[in-house]
C-alpha cells in the first residue's frame, strides 16, 4: 500500500528504487569515516531533463497496487472491502495520518493513479515512426479531418444534383429534414466529440459549412451525419415539478403549494368547484389586503389562465410586509394551478414569469456607508 504525498516522491524514480521515505545511504569520506547522505543529494536537477514518461505498464502496476491497498485499508478500518468508495478512503487516510498542514495538496492522499499521474496523449505513430493519421502534421487532425469529410460531402452532393439536373429529375422541393426543436452543438460539445481543443474561428467556420450543407436542396441524403451535430432542445416546462392533485372528503379536487418572497412564506390550498372565495389567514382577502395592488397580485394567475370564478383559495401567510406577502401568495397560487393545467398552458405560465421565484432580497448595509448604496456626504476638502 502506498499513501502518496502531493509532491514528487522517490517511489517514481526508476534509477533509485527507494520507498516513499527518503533513504539514507552510507558513504565513505576520504578519511575513511562513514558519512550518511540522504538520497535527495543524489537526485539531479529534474527541471532540466525532459518531463517524466509514465509507460502504460507502470500505470497498470500502480492501479493494481492501489486496488490492493484499498482492500488492506478497508480491512484495517474494519469496513466492507467491496463497497469502499473514494470518500471512505479520504476519511480513513485523514484519520490514520492526521495532518496539521493548511495546504490541501501537501496533506497525505490516496487516490486512483489516473488522478495523480498526468494524462499523456497516446503515441500517434507506429514503430517505424510514421504517424497513423494522414493530417497528423497539421496539429489539429480530428478537426481538419472532420472539415475535409464535410467539404467532401458538399462536393458529392453538388455532383449528385448536377447529375439529376442533367437527367431532368431535379426538383426544388425535395425532402427536407426537420430541424425544429434542435440546435447546433456548442463549441464545448464539439471539443468533447473531437477530443481536442478548437478556436472560436474554427468553430464558426464549421457551423458555416454545416449551414451551407443544409441550404442545398438534396441535403436529406446526409441526414444522419447532420443530426450527429444537432442537439435536442428540451422544453423548460418539462423540468417543472407539478404538485399532486388530491381529493378531499366530498370528492372535490384540490392541490397544495408553497411560495416565498422576500422573507414572507405562504401556503395555499386551491379547491375546485368553487366560486372565487379567497381566505387569507382566516380573514377575507378584501379585509386582509386593503390595497388594490396586492389583491391584483393574488388574482393575476387566475385571470391569466381565465379561471377566475372556478376555484376557492385557502391561504396562510406569515412574515414580511404586505407586498412581500402578496408576491409569496401569487407564486404559491401559480404553483397550485399547475396541477389543473395542460402542458401548453404551463409553458405560457412559465413564459409570463409567474413560476419564477423572485430572488431579490434587501441588500445589506456596508461599513463606511450610510446604507447599502448611499454614501456619506462627500467633502472636497
Amino acid at each position: 500500500m502506498a499513501a502518496y504525498c502531493g509532491r514528487t516522491l522517490g517511489a517514481f524514480q526508476r534509477k533509485y528504487a527507494c520507498s516513499i521515505f527518503s533513504m539514507a545511504t552510507a558513504q565513505l569520506c576520504p578519511q575513511g569515516r562513514q558519512i550518511c547522505v540522504s538520497s535527495a543529494l543524489h537526485r539531479k536537477n529534474e527541471t532540466n531533463s525532459e518531463p517524466r514518461k509514465f509507460s502504460a505498464e507502470f500505470i497498470e502496476k500502480q492501479v493494481g497496487e492501489f486496488d490492493i491497498g484499498k482492500r488492506h485499508l478497508a480491512n484495517m478500518m474494519g469496513e466492507d472491502p467491496e463497497n469502499f468508495t473514494q470518500e471512505d478512503i479520504d476519511r480513513c487516510i485523514a484519520y490514520l495520518f492526521p495532518s496539521g498542514l493548511f495546504e490541501k495538496k501537501a496533506k497525505p492522499i490516496m487516490k486512483h493513479p489516473d488522478e495523480i499521474f498526468p494524462k499523456q496523449r497516446a503515441v500517434q505513430w507506429g514503430a517505424d515512426g510514421r504517424p497513423f493519421h494522414f493530417l497528423f502534421y497539421t496539429g489539429k487532425e480530428s478537426y481538419y479531418s472532420l472539415m475535409h469529410e464535410l467539404y467532401g460531402k458538399i462536393l458529392n452532393l453538388e455532383k449528385y444534383q448536377d447529375r439529376l439536373k442533367a437527367k431532368g429529375l431535379f426538383s426544388k422541393d425535395a425532402k427536407q429534414i426537420s430541424l425544429r426543436a434542435t440546435r447546433w452543438l456548442t463549441k464545448e460539445e464539439v471539443e468533447t466529440v473531437l477530443l481536442e481543443g478548437i478556436s472560436t474561428q474554427d468553430y464558426t467556420r464549421f457551423i458555416q459549412l454545416l449551414e451551407q450543407l443544409i441550404s442545398m436542396p438534396y441535403h436529406s441524403v446526409e441526414e444522419k451525419f447532420i443530426l450527429q451535430y444537432r442537439q435536442q432542445l428540451e422544453a423548460q416546462s418539462s423540468k417543472q415539478t407539478v404538485p399532486q392533485l388530491e381529493k378531499d372528503d366530498r370528492g372535490v379536487d384540490f392541490s397544495r403549494a408553497e411560495g416565498r418572497r422576500k422573507s414572507s412564506v405562504a401556503s395555499v390550498i386551491l379547491r375546485d368547484c368553487g366560486s372565487g372565495h379567497i381566505t387569507v389567514n382566516g380573514h377575507d382577502y378584501l379585509q386582509y389586503f386593503s390595497v388594490l395592488q396586492d389583491r391584483e397580485q393574488l388574482m393575476f394567475p387566475l385571470q391569466f389562465t381565465g379561471m377566475l370564478g372556478r376555484f376557492d383559495l385557502e391561504c396562510t401567510v406569515s412574515g414580511g410586509g404586505r407586498s412581500g406577502q402578496a408576491g409569496a401568495l401569487r407564486l404559491a397560487i401559480s404553483r397550485c394551478l399547475l396541477s389543473f393545467l395542460s402542458e401548453g398552458e404551463v409553458e405560457n405560465l412559465r413564459q409570463a414569469g409567474l413560476l419564477t421565484s423572485d430572488p431579490r432580497v434587501k441588500e445589506r448595509k456596508k461599513p463606511g456607508q450610510e446604507g447599502a448604496r448611499k454614501k456619506f456626504t462627500w467633502k472636497k476638502r
Binding site: V123, Q124, W125, D128, F134, L135, T138, G139, H148, L155
Partner: protein, 180 residues
C-alpha cells in the same frame, strides 16, 4: 524565374515546357526513390480551391497532407509540439509555393533549415531559390493541378508497389528510419 521562361506574349509569361519536362522527370524520380525507401512525404498547398484535392491525393497514396494554416514551429519546434521522438517528413511537395497573401510559403524556408528536400511547382510569380527540385509550371488552373496530383500519386504508388515486390522476391527487410 526568367531562365525557365520561354518568353512573354500579351503580358502573359510562357513557361518553357522542355525545361519543365526535364525538371519534372528529376522531381518524380526523386519522389519515387523517397517513397521506395519508405520516407514520409508531406503534400503542402495553401490554395483553398485545391485543398480538398490535395488532401484526397495524399490519403490515396498513403502519405500526409497539410493544406491548412501553417503553425510556426511545425518543423523547427516539432519535439515540443508533438512529442519527443516525432519523425519529421523526409520530403515536402508543394503544389503551390505561395500562401494566401502571395508570399513565399513558410514551409520552404523551414524545410531548408531542417535539411528536408523539397519538390515544388513554381509559377512565374514564385521564387525557386530554396526549392531542391523546382518544377516550373502553372499552379493556378484546376486542370494543371489535377495533372500534377495524378502524376505524384502514380509515382508514389508505383514506387511502393515496387518496394513490396522487392521485399517479397529478395527478402528485404521493411524500411526503417535510420537515426541521424
Amino acid at each position: 524565374m526568367e531562365p525557365y521562361l520561354y518568353g512573354c506574349r500579351l503580358d502573359q509569361d510562357i513557361i518553357d515546357l522542355d525545361q519543365t519536362v526535364e525538371h519534372l522527370q528529376l522531381a518524380l524520380n526523386f519522389t519515387a526513390h523517397i517513397a521506395y525507401r519508405g520516407g514520409i512525404i508531406l503534400f503542402v498547398s495553401r490554395r483553398r480551391q485545391f485543398g480538398h484535392l490535395v488532401e484526397s491525393t495524399a490519403m490515396k497514396c498513403g502519405e500526409y497532407a497539410h493544406t491548412r494554416y501553417w503553425q510556426g514551429g511545425l518543423l523547427t519546434n516539432a519535439p515540443v509540439q508533438y512529442g519527443p521522438n516525432v519523425r519529421l517528413p523526409d520530403l515536402l511537395i508543394f503544389l503551390s509555393t505561395l500562401n494566401n497573401v502571395f508570399q513565399q510559403h513558410v514551409g520552404i524556408r523551414d524545410a531548408a533549415k531542417m535539411n528536408i528536400p523539397t519538390v515544388g511547382v513554381v509559377d512565374s510569380n514564385c521564387n525557386p531559390s530554396l526549392i531542391t527540385y523546382p518544377i516550373p509550371g502553372n499552379d493556378d488552373t484546376p486542370v494543371s493541378v489535377e495533372l500534377y496530383c495524378r502524376l505524384f500519386q502514380m509515382t508514389i504508388r508505383r514506387a511502393k508497389d515496387k518496394r513490396r515486390q522487392m521485399e517479397l522476391l529478395h527478402g528485404l527487410s521493411k524500411p526503417t528510419p535510420e537515426s541521424s
